[in-house]
């Protein structure tokens, strides 16, 4: 048996995903023109699947801060913070984020993925229990594998199910740590945080909230779902990323928890990896300031959400349950989703194709995410293209469409 034979099934799925002409998992942008446009296959294309919610990737102040930092501190840190030293920028960014969230502590990680690995694998130990939402991001599942806690999965966004599963643990030793996300990136639905907090208190548990998609996009000041719901004091740890609203790469965790700082010498995904480069820390520090100083970015984003969600809904698409910066179109099956996605790209619209097993309930999705910088004209164009392609391939038909001759 060959080393990679066990991936045969996966390779077949990939082959199927490429039947529409393009490889959805290997799209190349030859030039990026702005937060909302790139050149793909020689064609000017609207970017509407990049999670660049506030459009800060080309923000002049962020770029300038980044350029100054690279000139002053060099291109990389060439090591980890515990073995090779922290830069002023690391602590500066941590202080900026702690102040932004009104928390005592902040740790930054080299990616959002590592932030979840680093926090979840350390806050719950061998005697403890991690209770994770069934629709959790892959980084949360992987964090469970890295850690030593017993892992219990509860039904997505279901506080009664969480309560039941915690009840079943009664009498068992150890701490209980609940893990949920602010805004779920597959369907754009939000966690019932108030109910989760009630369950948490009832069982004396802790809660970690991953606000990767909700920081910058939700809450009056952009501090996420916990702020929007007025529940920040009840959330023990907020985990997030710099690769969405903050327009760069990296991750963080903020908390008021006593003793939190010990994680710097306990959390392996923090310790045994190179730290973020100076240019990133500088641009993210500036991006946090921009999020605070320009609430209009959030207003524009949500106006765009209304436009896109409303337009697609009117056209007859099946969308997620809530209006959110992620607008997911559910297609009938994988084949239809692949053809639909290819049709969009061929017409200059790039979104994300997401197929099982990455999706909940085996759904086949084309996932669109909005940007504050999208213009009304761009969104109108996206709705037109989507409607045209869907009609052309019979995506609105109740019965499965006949395979195209070439398909």
């Amino acid at each position: 048996m060959g080393l990679f034979d066990r991936f045969d099934g996966l390779a077949k799925l990939h082959a199927m995903a490429t039947t529409g002409g393009e490889d959805p998992f290997a799209v190349r942008m030859d030039r990026v023109l702005s937060p909302t446009e790139a050149v793909i296959n020689g064609r000017q294309t609207i970017l509407i699947g990049t999670h660049n919610y506030l459009g800060l990737t080309f923000d002049p102040a962020c770029i300038e801060a980044s350029q100054k930092a690279v000139a002053a501190f060099g291109t990389g840190t060439t090591g980890s913070r515990i073995a090779n030293g922290s830069y002023a920028g690391h602590r500066g960014l941590e202080k900026t984020l702690a102040a932004f969230f009104g928390r005592k502590h902040c740790m930054v990680f080299s990616t959002g993925y590592q932030a979840n690995l680093g926090i979840l694998s350390t806050v719950a130990g061998p005697q403890d229990h991690l209770l994770i939402d069934a629709d959790s991001h892959a980084s949360i599942y992987d964090a469970c594998k890295l850690g030593s806690a017993t892992v219990v999965r509860f039904r997505h966004n279901d506080p009664a199910d969480l309560d039941r599963r915690l009840q079943k643990l009664s009498g068992e030793p150890g701490n209980r740590v609940i893990v949920a996300e602010g805004l779920y990136s597959m369907l754009g639905d939000t966690a019932p945080l108030r109910e989760f907090v009630e369950v948490k208190k009832k069982h004396g548990a802790y809660i970690v909230l991953d606000e990767a998609h909700s920081v910058g996009t939700m809450g009056e000041n952009g501090r996420g779902l916990a702020e929007a719901e007025g529940l920040e004091a009840d959330v023990d740890f907020v985990v997030g990323t710099f690769s969405k609203s903050f327009g760069a790469v990296g991750g963080f965790c903020v908390s008021d928890m006593e003793g939190f700082e010990v994680l710097r010498i306990a959390s392996r995904p923090y310790m045994f990896t190179a730290s973020l480069p100076p240019s990133i820390m500088a641009s993210v520090t500036e991006a946090v300031h921009q999020v605070q100083a320009r609430p209009e970015l959030r207003r524009q984003l949500w106006q765009n959400v209304d436009r896109l969600y409303g337009g697609l809904q009117k056209a007859g698409f099946i969308l997620g349950p809530e209006k959110a910066p992620v607008v997911a179109i559910t297609l009938r099956d994988q084949e239809t989703a692949i053809r639909f996605w290819n049709g969009l790209l061929a017409n200059g619209v790039y979104c994300a194709l997401v197929l099982p097993p990455a999706t909940p309930n085996g759904l086949s999705l084309c996932r669109l995410s909005l940007c504050a910088a999208h213009t009304a004209a761009q969104i109108k164009r996206v709705v037109e293209v989507a409607t045209g392609v869907a009609n052309e391939i019979g995506a609105f038909d109740a019965v499965p469409a006949k395979r195209a001759a070439a398909g």
Binding site: G9, T150, V151, R155, R165, P356, P357, P360
Partner: protein
Amino acid sequence: MGLVHREDTAVFDAVVTLLDQFKREEAIITRETDISEDLRLDSLAVMDLMMELEDKFDVSIPLNLVAEIRTVGDLAEAVRRH
């Protein structure tokens, strides 16, 4: 042994019933049926199936066990033991 055997059969039958929807052609599901190879269930589908079984039998099966579950027999055994 008799009681254990009856419990085991009940669990196995319930697992088979839940798995029936994933069956390919008219193959018969046995304890040796490989969940991912033969039934083509992905990791998420296996976890969803476990959740159904947890509710049906009012048990709690830690997710940590998923990596060890390969066959239908393994799955039934995980439910029976918890």
